[in-house]
């Protein structure tokens, strides 16, 4: 079974700036980690390989430093790692990102399953998985909490707001996973050392994908950030209730009763 896992390096919370001219996030200089949902996608891939054999390729698009995220995937146990890194990809929205990723997937070659995290912790759009599936013309199942494989068909438990659905499809398919699907393994120190010392992360540019068009990055993105601004959350003055716990409790209940809320 050929599995591709798409991962993204995201800034650690609170460690991010933005470019006031383009309105895009500035990722360079920020310390990066593997997006949390994506670790669950890696783990799901590892478990499928353990049960059914095959190879796993981790794929990421990002600045050169996203190499670290792929090293982390290697240390967890994926077989190959590919980083698509090109200045022309900078500032991509989800459409331009998915399109670039779809070209990289085609260069990787045949696949049975593509796994992605449900969403990233920075953009939080949950759009790249479905859009990648569209560009590859494969069926998609988002919000997976269980994946099982029988022959060439895959059965997925999908968590939607109405409850759960059990879906079945045949290879190839793209699946995005919920965090509850598994507990990602923590690689032992020697695997981490090995991932940095002995393993290879293939670095591809758009040139390597044979692409010269302008479907990439900021240029290839239909959405533009018009403005980024801070919004002060302000309302009227707060009334602080003071006294012993039981006193303030009584005061609050009285206030709520007067407003018909209690």
């Amino acid at each position: 079974m050929e599995i591709i896992v798409c991962i993204k390096q995201v800034p650690e919370a609170g460690d991010i700036g933005w470019d006031p001219d383009t309105g895009t996030l500035l990722r360079e200089g920020a310390s990066g980690v593997v997006n949390r949902h994506d670790k669950h996608a890696i783990e799901a891939a590892l478990q499928l390989r353990e049960a059914h054999g095959g190879t796993i390729t981790a794929l990421s698009m990002g600045p050169p430093q996203a190499d670290e995220a792929l090293r982390e995937a290697l240390s967890m146990g994926v077989d190959k790692a590919v980083l698509l890194s090109d200045r022309r990809c900078a500032g991509a929205d989800t459409l331009a990102t998915s399109y670039a990723l779809s070209l990289a997937v085609k260069k990787i070659g045949r696949f049975d399953i593509i796994l992605c995290g449900k969403e990233t912790s920075d953009g939080m759009t949950a759009q790249v998985g479905p859009q990648l599936a569209e560009f590859l013309n494969t069926p998609q199942v988002t919000c997976a909490t269980e994946i099982s494989i029988r022959g060439h068909s895959v059965r997925i438990t999908q968590k939607l707001e109405g409850g759960l659905r059990i879906l079945e499809t045949r290879f190839p398919a793209l699946i995005t996973v919920e965090r509850q699907i598994n507990q990602p393994r923590i690689p032992p120190m020697d695997s981490i050392m090995e991932a940095y010392r002995d393993r290879e992360v293939q670095a591809w540019s758009l040139e390597d994908l044979g692409e010269r068009g302008d479907h990439f990055g900021l240029k290839g993105s239909p959405t533009k950030t018009k403005r980024v601004y801070t919004k002060e959350v302000t309302r009227g003055m707060v009334t602080i209730l003071q006294g012993e716990p039981d006193e303030v409790a009584r005061d609050l209940i009285r206030a709520l009763q007067q407003k018909g809320l209690c």
């Binding site: 609170g14 933005w18 759009q127 879906l167 609050l252």
Partner: protein, 347 residues
């Protein structure tokens, strides 16, 4: 190659995708019919609802009462259960034929599954999880506002050249407008024309959620537990308070991460957006990750032992103290107040 360029001539309708279950529309779809009116008026177009399902003609009429001028109805057994590929085919085909200016979709799990796929097929932009919508007076372009990455940042996103301008909108952020049963509109029934590749996924089974009660987005009262509750015992006290008040129980990230309560109860940027009449935050600091999901609450009560906690910046009533002392006191005093009312009634 990407799909052919679709820079469309102005100006089509505002479309709203109608999500429904067993003939009952999702509240967010009705919210969007209401929110769409202001946008439609600003660019002088109509509102079209797009409804897909099996035996949905009653619902189609209902959508007129909620504000649709036109309803495009795809009524077919094959579209009875939600399917990404079937729904994408129908909506994308109709959009190519009728050229809407804007397509609004609720940012539910289904909406977030469907919208990006349609956007990719139509080669247009889709802004996820918006909380405000406006029309730029000068250009007539839709300005979609969304909270941006963690801190108190907001971003205005536009899609100036491609059509339709797609956005998903969080449930609960737009006000539900009134229903008028004397409104008139047009129903357009369309054929469902699928290709083989649209039915690659089979639904084997559907298991309804065990989560009972009023959905958080629709609750009048919400009691919310934050990091300050400390441990599972503290959390159970918050649950007791919620039950006594007849409120729904919400949580910030920590109680969900600790698995004291399921993800369905999470409020904030990565959870639900609520607008109750009463919100009581217990040990909630009020960081934007959470407050983005509750800032439209009518009355906010904050209980926190840190007087500098952000939540006091926007609370109406504040109690500075330990949640594990204040909440038991509230439970005690509520019980006393209830008994007093009970004995009054007996007299």
């Amino acid at each position: 190659m990407m799909a052919s360029s679709n820079t469309m001539a102005r100006c089509g309708d505002i479309w709203v995708f109608i999500e429904h279950r067993d003939g009952n529309p999702a509240r967010v779809s009705l919210e969007l019919l209401g929110a769409g009116r202001r946008l439609a008026d600003a660019i002088n177009v109509d509102i079209t609802a797009i409804l897909i399902g099996e035996s949905v003609s009653e619902l189609a009429k209902e959508l007129i009462y909620w504000g649709a001028d036109t309803v495009i109805v795809a009524d077919d057994p094959i579209a009875g259960a939600y399917s990404t590929e079937v729904y994408t085919r129908i909506i994308a085909d109709q959009a190519l034929k009728r050229m809407p200016e804007v397509l609004l979709i609720g940012a539910t799990e289904i909406g977030r599954d469907l919208a990006p796929r349609i956007a990719a097929r139509l080669n247009t932009g889709c802004t996820a999880d918006c909380t405000e919508l406006d029309i730029d007076e000068e250009t007539g372009v839709l300005v979609a506002t969304k909270p941006y990455f963690g801190r108190n940042l907001m971003a205005d996103i536009i899609c100036p050249l491609k059509r339709p301008q797609m956005v998903t909108v969080r449930p609960g952020v737009m006000e539900l407008k009134d229903r008028y049963s004397d409104r008139r509109g047009e129903l357009i029934y369309v054929d469902v024309d699928l290709r083989e590749e649209d039915t690659r996924i089979t639904v084997i089974d559907s298991i309804p959620s065990s989560y009972g009660g009023v959905p958080l987005e629709e609750a009048d009262k919400v009691v919310c537990a934050g990091i300050g509750v400390g441990n599972r015992e503290g959390f159970e006290l918050i649950r007791e308070l919620a039950e006594l008040l007849g409120a729904q129980l919400g949580a910030t990230s920590l109680p969900v991460d600790e698995e004291w309560i399921s993800e369905d109860h999470k409020i904030g940027q990565t959870g639900k957006t609520i607008r109750p009449k009463l919100y009581i935050g217990c040990g909630v600091s009020g960081a934007i990750q959470h407050s983005a999901g509750m800032i439209n609450s009518e009355l906010v009560v904050a209980i926190n032992n840190d007087p500098r906690a952000e939540i006091f910046q926007f609370a109406d009533y504040g109690i500075i103290g330990d949640v594990n002392e204040i909440v038991p006191a509230l439970i005690r005093q509520l019980k006393i107040a209830r008994e007093a009312v009970g004995s009054d009634a007996a007299i």
